[in-house]
Symmetry: C2
Subunit: 435 residues, 2 copies
């Protein structure tokens, strides 16, 4: 490696660890849910970073934040980025790593262009996608999905958090509801992210080239009983929505044991309970279950089984249970050319790499419906994510930054021109994949 990557690494790490102090929790994580004041502070930091380099900044109608490094006036754009929002008490790497790496890769590429080392065919745009996490406002991957035309903007702006605030009001409140359309002519997208699993760590590899995403869906479940007194109501007269919700929660977890180990993952993440008072039998519980598998038939089969079992619980407990599918996301394939590009670059940089799937959703899944997209992983210690002890070593962050910089350099010079997207499933069965 040359001196430049070392300088680049130093500047990147300094900024990365600074941004991790915004919304920092006492246990090493961050709390920066979408359109909160902490989210605004990271956006202000992003904006200052771009403006200091003379990069124009714009915000679109769903709060996505773009900074343009213009190399070729009027040309299409290579996009790169991720998201600065976090889960409640989330980790400091998830999302923020990809945005910080993209900003510093862009600065390095601008240096190369200015030094005559690189002659790009496209402009480079760094993006902070709004609300990838979906913890405050469902669904997740919100900003990039609206940008890609997968979600309706007006309907999305009307989504409310549990306190009743709309996306529109929350974005206006933090000053990040814009009117720009963002770059509309794209020539490629690249995103680097922590793996959030254990495969790279176990195999001692520095990079993962993501070739596909799992099939996922959510189920929204309303359990309706009748409010009564926990002290004065006979047990036989109770129609306890929380008891029904407890049984639903266990069904959602237990069904995974009916499939090959780790071929299906399924949990209830969110629960809202009314009236939720110590001496009242609850009348209404709302649950959100999240089911994922590589094989769509597994998710669909588990979903059908669960629906039948929910009905059985409703009958046995004299409750009403209404369940509704939402946020169904089919398997998505990244273009094979982008995967091969990552493998060539890893070889050049002397980094170990393997192909892998993502079980989690990412903004690149939405972008891959618009433009050939490249998704890159770096290792996660213990594979943990969406928690304060999420961790990736500085050296792994820097390796990913170096690889992203080279990927972007190739994209800027047309490496994925004319590539079909989204990609297609490989000919061999995916069932033997270690993911």
């Amino acid at each position: 490696m040359t001196d430049q990557p070392t300088e680049l690494a130093r500047a990147f790490l300094q900024d990365f660890h600074h941004v991790a102090t915004i919304g920092a929790t006492d246990r090493g994580g961050v709390e920066r849910q979408a359109a909160t004041d902490a989210d605004r502070q990271t956006r202000d930091w992003f904006t200052a970073f771009a403006r200091a380099r003379g990069w124009p900044v714009e915000v679109d109608g769903i709060g996505n934040l773009f900074a343009t490094v213009e190399f070729v006036p009027g040309a299409a754009a290579i996009l790169t980025g991720s998201h600065l929002d976090s889960q409640p008490r989330g980790g400091r790497f998830d999302g923020a790593y990809g945005v910080l790496a993209s900003l510093h890769a862009a600065a390095e590429l601008q240096r190369r262009v200015d030094a005559g080392e690189l002659t790009p065919s496209y402009n480079l745009v760094v993006v902070d996608w709004f609300n990838e996490e979906g913890s405050r406002f469902p669904p997740s991957i919100m900003g990039s999905s609206v940008y890609a035309g997968l979600l309706d903007r007006d309907e999305t702006l009307a989504v409310r958090d549990l306190a009743g605030t709309t996306v529109r009001d929350a974005l206006e409140e933090i000053g990040y509801l814009g009117t720009s359309a963002g770059p509309r002519e794209l020539a490629g997208y690249a995103e680097v992210h922590i793996e959030q699993g254990r495969i790279l760590e176990r195999e001692q590899l520095e990079l993962g080239a993501v070739d596909s995403s799992w099939y996922t869906q959510k189920i929204e479940i309303d359990v309706i009983g009748e409010q009564s007194h926990t002290g004065a109501t006979a047990m036989a007269d109770r129609r306890d929505a929380l008891v029904g919700a407890a049984r639903v929660t266990l069904l959602v977890r237990d069904i995974c044991a009916e499939y090959p180990a780790e071929s299906l993952v399924s949990s209830v993440g969110q629960i809202t309970v009314e009236p939720n008072s110590p001496i009242v039998v609850n009348s209404h519980v709302h649950l959100v279950a999240d089911l994922r598998a590589n094989d769509p038939a597994i998710v669909q089969g588990a979903r059908d089984t669960l629906m039948a079992r929910f009905q059985q619980v409703a009958d046995e407990e004299r409750l009403e249970i209404v369940a509704r599918d939402f946020d169904i996301r089919p398997n998505r394939y990244y273009p094979q050319e982008g995967v091969a590009l990552q493998e060539r670059i890893a070889g050049r940089l002397g980094l170990g790499i393997r192909r892998m799937q993502t079980m989690a959703g990412h903004d690149s899944v939405a972008l891959n419906t618009m433009t050939p997209s490249v998704m890159m992983f770096v290792p996660s210690v213990d594979g943990v994510s969406h928690c304060e002890r999420e961790f990736t070593k500085d050296g792994d962050l820097v390796n990913g930054l170096a690889a992203l910089t080279e990927v972007l350099a190739e994209l800027l010079t047309g490496a994925l021109d004319g590539v079909a997207f989204p990609g297609c499933p490989p000919v061999e069965a995916a069932g033997d994949r270690d993911a």
Copy 2:
């Protein structure tokens, strides 16, 4: 009955149905949790009622609101009342009925004294006890328990609701944190309340003379797991606090089936979940379970069994579960003389009456540790309570008002002078009681 009771009934019903409009919900209930603005409005109404009749009003250091009808300067007081706060989406009868009946009974008794029909030995004080429901600030029966010296005032003022507001700040906010001590020399207490059960309705009786309360306790349970990604975390790696909480919720319900039917009632009413996001495995769940039986050995045995089973769940799910007893309330017995007094009055008024127990807690349970107390029930349609469809017929409300008025007239003339309190268990076994 004379014309006066009819006039009394008309005035009472008009005011009762007016107060039910304060904090009214769209399904016939009320939402007036303690120290909310709706609670303030009912208190302002109470104060205006008292001042219009020249009764001095005072507020003590935990928000209990007293109105004094002075008959004998310097004499001890007969107290009567209940509470104007409600559960979230609660019923309009629970508590409010007792306060409204007490105010109108007091007005009628003042009329009798002024007319020379009654010569009291004591003064009469009507009270609205603060926060009987405990839904916003635990525990329930808060104001009367502080008044009776069963809870420490300073510790109670520091209790916080789920939003972090203290009792002290909430009371100051609505203007009902006072400095009075309230009446300190008492000669008796009487409270009328809806039954919240089905016994009077089933037996077509107008009145229930409460002779004792059930043994009750709560258990506060913390389930601690680890936050992780619902999509990207292997099932084998999840330590899901919500799964643990679901199992705890079902254990708390299911244990009732191990005892004779309806001898034990037990439910989880309150659950708080962190971080409660659709795509995050939850790390922390807090639960409140409520166990009640007439026989203390049943509650104690069920509690011990549950504690052992919680530990088993913790081991199986790789969670930490910490459970703690609180709010233990032994059986309480009302003085037999007060029960007999109610029976005599019912006979005089031509109303059907039976002795019964209360499974629910009431302010009178706390008062009965300070002064001989009388607890009276009127029927509840379908036995439902703590919900919007809680209902008692006007005729039953008026019967209870008539009986309360006569009970208070007797207390004012010394009917329970020198009676020991709290009362003692009857000599015959309580096991054959229909409660």
